[in-house]
């Protein structure tokens, strides 16, 4: 690999050292360390929640760090806005660029800083010429005069890159740019990235795809749990080594897995398909069993759960609950038949934040609580009392609005709300996202106990240790398909991570 290296001695283009960022009680970034050299492409990898996005947002000026050092070309900086970050020569290209669809490509590139000619008029000729010149340098053919609407995402990213070049950005950050691109488009993007490197710019490439990291990058930094793990030249490492660094921790101790007796099939999903979202999903969950559904964010796991529960539709396939087919698209029937879904987004889907603890816990059982069609606050409070105390929700009053509780306690309220329906099958989607370690352990213990009592649990989680620690069986999804199934014994972090990230074609 022909790596363009800057002469040693020059300070790195960008340097972050032990950067910390927390949001209230949640620490998103414990110790972020990253060094980008000019004329080099650097990869940043890590599991979901490892702190990559937080790090990027600090560099982009969206967040302000709580502690740690941040230098650009040797000079300490402290951005309070994205404008400052841009002015300092940093450009971030996101997965899905936000351009003005009704304006031309050229106008988008120069938005807000159009070169002016005589009498303050916009100098369209100069603007157009520069746009054409940049596209020429990048070796791409996009008509600078066409309107942006209808351009592919790949072309839109190129426009963002052109914008960065016209600003003479020294540091370009690409946050999972290839997620929505086809093979040819990826190749073109890589060619552009290499030509930028050869111009002496520093590039940061965030990706979940190892093949791309190895094909494009010069160095790689791994993050885990909000902390820096290692930085290695790409030629000195392997996929296995990187996966170990990404996962690397002892999982069995954290997760108290109780032995449960497995019973009948409670939930059987056969060939579930929704065009463009998920394809041919088949699995079963038995009584007493915890089935983990692993994969990266965006693999289609939540969509499958929502389709089974009935809040979304599916095109073909079948769901059998407790031995009888479950009609699609009807959450009320699903609930009545003993299915419960703790959704992914507790603030939007799981809770009515402005309503009280009591009302939230009893929202899904409001029918069952009523006598002769009437429901009283007394009945609601009595039921809320039972579930809040069983889950040890920390709130002083049952009429406190749920939005005032901490994330962990909110999650307990959602769990209580669904356990109150006395389900036979429980789907939990990211049951411990964004909650503190102590509460996490409580939730895990609870799920384990419930399985022991005979509940069938499907647990969707992007946290590998959680899946491996809790599940009797692990299913892995990638890009809408199940790409792996492992027994508890066979489910190693490496195997699961590989199934979640590697190209299915390459596996075969």
């Amino acid at each position: 690999m022909d790596t363009a290296r800057v002469p040693s001695g020059a300070p790195p283009a960008l340097e972050l050292s032990r950067v910390v960022k927390s949001f209230g009680p949640v620490v998103a970034l414990r110790s972020g360390t990253l060094t980008l050299e000019s004329g080099s492409i650097h990869a940043l990898i890590g599991e979901n929640g490892a702190g990559k996005s937080t790090l990027v947002k600090i560099v982009a000026g969206l967040y302000r760090r709580d502690a740690g050092e941040f230098r650009l070309a040797g000079e300490p900086v402290d951005f309070t806005s994205t404008a400052q970050s841009k002015a300092a020569g940093i450009a971030v290209i996101y997965q899905e660029p936000t351009l003005f669809p009704d304006l031309s490509v050229t106008e988008n590139i120069f938005m807000g800083r159009q070169p002016s000619g005589r009498f303050g008029r916009i100098d369209r000729k100069a603007m157009r010429a520069e746009a054409a010149e940049i596209f020429g340098r990048l070796g791409v053919t996009i008509d600078p005069d066409r309107i942006t609407e209808g351009l592919s995402i790949a072309d839109q990213q190129i426009i963002e890159i052109a914008k960065a070049i016209s600003l003479d950005a020294r540091v370009l950050i690409m946050d999972e740019p290839t997620a929505a691109l086809s093979g040819v488009e990826v190749e073109r993007l890589f060619a552009v990235a290499r030509s930028l490197r050869d111009e002496g710019r520093a590039l940061l490439f965030i990706s979940h795809r190892f093949d791309e990291v190895f094909a494009l990058c010069d160095t790689v930094t791994v993050m885990r749990d909000g902390s820096y793990v290692a930085t290695t030249p790409i030629v000195e490492t392997t996929v296995d080594e990187l996966v170990r660094q990404m996962v690397g921790r002892d999982v069995s101790e954290l997760f108290p897995k109780l032995e449960a007796e497995l019973g009948d099939d409670r939930l059987v999903v056969q060939g579930l398909t929704r065009a463009g979202v998920f394809h041919d999903i088949s699995f079963r969950v038995r009584s007493g069993e915890i089935v983990g559904l692993a994969g990266l964010v965006g693999a289609g796991r939540s969509e499958v759960a929502r389709a089974i529960f009935g809040v979304d539709q599916y095109d073909s396939g079948s769901v059998v609950l407790g031995g009888k087919p479950l009609p699609k698209g009807n959450p009320r029937v699903a609930m009545a038949r003993g299915l419960a879904l703790v959704p992914e987004d507790r603030r939007k889907q799981g809770l009515v934040l402005d309503a009280t603890v009591s009302r939230n816990v009893t929202l899904a059982i409001r029918g069952a609580l009523s006598k002769l069609g009437l429901i009283t606050s007394g009945a609601e409070n009595a039921s809320a009392q039972v579930w809040a105390s069983r889950l040890e929700v920390k709130t002083a009053f049952l009429d406190a609005e749920v939005g005032t509780l901490s994330g962990g306690n909110q999650q307990k309220v959602v769990l209580g709300k669904w356990l109150a329906t006395e389900p036979s099958v429980l789907i939990v989607d990211e049951p411990t996202r964004g909650i503190d370690v102590g509460t996490k352990a409580e939730v895990h213990r609870l799920l384990s106990q419930l399985a022991q009592e005979g509940l069938a649990i499907l647990m969707i989680s992007s946290e590998l240790p959680e899946v491996l620690g809790m599940a009797d069986r692990v299913l892995v999804m990638r890009e809408g398909r199940i790409t792996g199934e492992f027994s508890r014994e066979a489910a190693t972090p490496e195997a699961v991570m590989f199934a979640a990230t590697a190209d299915a074609g390459a596996l075969a």
């Binding site: 609930m335 929202l363 429901i375 105390s389 069983r390």
Partner: protein, 348 residues
Amino acid sequence: MTTAPAPVRTYRAHAHPLWRRALVNREAAVIGLLLIVIAVSLAVVPNFDSPLTVTYLLRDLAPILLIALPMTLIIITEEIDLSVASIVGLSSVMTGVLTQAGWPFAAAALTAILVGSLAGVINGFLVTVVGLPSLAVTIGTLALFRGIAVGLLGTTAITDFPEFWTDLARDNIPGTPIPLVMILFLVLAVGFAVLLHFTPFGRSLYAIGLNREAASFSGVDVGRAKFTLFVLSGTVSGLAGVYFTLVYSNARGDNATGMELQVIAAVLLGGVSIFGGRGALHGVIAGVLLIGTLSSALRLANVGSDIINVITGLLLVLSVVSASFLGWLRTQRLAALGRRKSTQRSVS
């Protein structure tokens, strides 16, 4: 591993004692203001204490009171029905035309009410099945229903109705200055209050208004609930149209023009949030009575109608401002609480 039995915690149901919950809220404030207005008017406004004042006041307020009931439920689900006054007009015209055509009055009235229901079905269909915003839909049907009403009867009016029925609409409960129609209202008000405050359906309406997505994840059929409300709104408006026709012996296409705004103003004044999810029926009833009593007292005190409009308008603006001010105050308090919590945590 062994798990210790979870300590059973007892939670207090309420942060504040009953008297405070009952007295420190928007509904109580509106009721209090209503009592003050009544007391002051009794003291200083000549003739305010005459039985006729009470009779005429309640007679005029009855259609607004009736329509405010379903309107409250609709606004709690974060929707709105602007077509109610046009449905009153349409129902009034139907009553007149059918009576004139020789139908027995009861049949004509029932048909008029059903036409109101049908109007509600149209609104509900467009909002829940087609998925259009209710604001746009009911602005459209406001014009549509009014257009049909005026078209059916032109500029003429039908004024001949069976005396039995007009008397029923105008008579008072024997021995009181209170019109008989208030009994009908009371029955409906209790029905709507039970529906809103003591049924699973009512619980789901608040959930829809506060977080539609979470409601549907909890098994609430959002579309069916809203459809039901629009049909109820149309039906009650149809009923109000029949009453309107009888009490004034007058079926005209332009009856009750603009009443939708009076209804909505009173509902908002009564403490229902225009953003959905908050409000109670007793507050709304007090809101209707407050606006009605205030303008009646001012009229008796010989205040000009434009000044009355200015005063009721100001009252509304103040009520909305005070509501958002209180909301702002609450978020400030919560934010301060959150800050205190997080500093405590980082210290420990």
